[in-house]
């Protein structure tokens, strides 16, 4: 079952470090249609290294679409032109022989380029640190399902929790806004009884950190939902807007970060 290799022209963003100015470099590759996008880059890197050239830096980890580490903008789409998959799940058979592919890093002020296609997404960690947790008592292990939660609510919370924190929402948004990510994290707790204690402080803290880091705001273009590899819904953003407004109007204390 010998399949014909694809000939592709890659235009890949190369940038030495966060301070230098980057530019696109052309690479002609031949790749099996069965290879994944990252495997193609691996092969290209092998040949670059064999020639004593600096390999292209990009991130990946699990390579099965659940860790959120990989993320490239391919022809203007975070994680490539297919929907609901991460870059690692994108296979070359989805491209046509002779096609030109522009490969860029996620672009946002809050996601500075570290090198080539690798960006610093630690801003997301800072948003999580601000409120992405629940307080629990130590002591004996509680019985499972002690607190009844209706199935539809549990599912909705789970859908929000499916966010892998890859940053494609920021990359896709014309404002480089982190609203979809932040609202998914706010929602996965806000929907469940266990998340109620910190509910209104959490939303204020996480939004304050999000703003501080220089992410943009939400113009409701919904590009984030369209490009999200996990299909996180923008109804989470609506929920966060609602919780934020009620928190600000009702709370008696000023929540600072």
């Amino acid at each position: 079952m010998e399949e014909k290799n694809l000939k592709l022209k890659l235009k890949i963003w190369r940038q030495k470090n966060s301070k230098s100015v980057g530019s696109f470099v052309d690479y002609d590759v031949q790749v099996s249609p069965d290879a994944s996008f990252l495997e193609m880059l691996d092969e290209l890197n092998n040949s670059l290294e064999a020639n004593g050239e600096e390999p292209i830096h990009f991130e990946s980890d699990c390579r099965e679409g659940i860790c959120g580490t990989c993320g490239l903008v391919i022809n203007g789409h975070p994680h490539g032109p297919l929907q609901k998959i991460a870059t690692c799940q994108l296979h070359m058979r989805n491209f046509k022989d002779g096609e030109t592919l522009w490969v860029e890093p996620f672009r946002a002020k809050a996601f500075p380029v570290i090198k080539d296609l690798m960006v610093d997404r630690s801003g997301f960690d800072k948003i999580l640190e601000a409120g992405g947790y629940v307080s629990v008592n130590t002591g004996g292990a509680p019985d499972a399902n002690l607190i009844p939660i209706p199935k539809d609510i549990a599912s909705e919370a789970f859908d929000a929790a499916a966010c892998i924190g890859c940053g494609a929402c920021v990359a896709a948004c014309k404002n480089a806004s982190a609203m979809l990510f932040t609202s998914a994290k706010v929602s996965q707790y806000a929907l469940l009884p266990q998340g109620q204690q910190e509910r209104y402080r959490r939303v204020q803290k996480m939004i304050a950190v999000m703003d501080e880091l220089g992410f943009g705001s939400c113009t409701n273009t919904y590009a984030c939902e369209a490009e999200c590899p996990k299909g996180i819904s923008v109804t989470n953003i609506a929920r966060m807007n609602r919780d934020f407004a009620s928190a600000k109007f009702k709370s008696k204390e000023e929540v600072e970060v």
Binding site: W102, E104, A110, S177, G216, C218, Y222, I237, N241
Partner: protein
């Protein structure tokens, strides 16, 4: 009040200001269109309508102040958000595929708003100013408001700009109407598809409604001046 200004200065707070002022403007436009429709019923109907507003002038002035505040806040925050959002992405993508993941109205809100703004200034300087304060032709003093409007609607570039502006307004509202609901947090999967449809209908009615007047008076009005 410190908390309130901090709140309305946050990213989500500024969007709430856009949505509150935007919904006020949405309601205003309905009233404004209904009033203006009297133009089609002849000089007496329109002049009578404008003179009737004069009777309740103190109330109208209050509404105008609220309207002014709504416009100022909407335009100010719209501009600030646009600036901040540009700064949030200092280096742009080489390949932009946004047309495949979002509507053009949602991406062009600032520019559509800017067209509306240019029109707004001209609109106030012509109709509003002449009706309320000073009209060089003296028509307003004699309550001949209808003639002022009809005279402007004979100027081709005024009519052209008017039509361009209300088309921009229609697109602005096409995105803006449903955007208000999302910003307020009222995105429920049962109702949101309907809200989007109502928004489209509203936008079309506003664009067609406001455009119908200059079109009618420029092309079809024989004149009874």
């Amino acid at each position: 009040m410190g908390w309130f200004f901090k709140f309305t200065n946050s990213s989500v707070g500024k969007k709430l200001v856009m949505a509150v002022t935007g919904s006020f403007l949405i309601i205003f436009l309905i009233v404004h269109l209904i009033g203006n429709i009297t133009l089609f019923f002849g000089p007496d109907a329109f002049n009578g309508y404008v003179s009737a507003l004069d009777v309740v002038k103190p109330l109208i002035r209050v509404v105008e102040l609220v309207l002014l505040a709504a416009f100022v806040l909407h335009i100010y925050d719209g501009f600030v958000l646009w600036l901040e959002n540009r700064r949030a992405r200092p280096v742009n993508y080489k390949v932009n595929a946004s047309s495949e993941n979002s509507t053009f109205t949602s991406r062009w809100m600032f520019w559509l708003g800017s067209v509306i703004f240019i029109f707004l200034v001209l609109h106030l300087a012509t109709f509003f100013w002449r009706f309320n304060f000073y009209d060089p032709s003296g028509l307003a003093n004699n309550h001949l408001y209808f003639n002022i409007v009809v005279n402007f609607f004979q100027i081709w570039w005024y009519v052209a700009l008017y039509i361009v502006a209300v088309i921009a307004l229609g697109f602005h509202l096409h995105h803006g109407f449903q955007s208000v609901f999302q910003t307020f947090g009222w995105n429920h999967k049962k109702y949101f598809p309907l809200i989007k449809k109502i928004g489209t209908l509203y936008a079309i009615v506003m664009a067609v409604g406001f455009a119908s007047m200059p079109i009618y008076f420029f092309f079809f009005y024989g004149g009874s001046q």
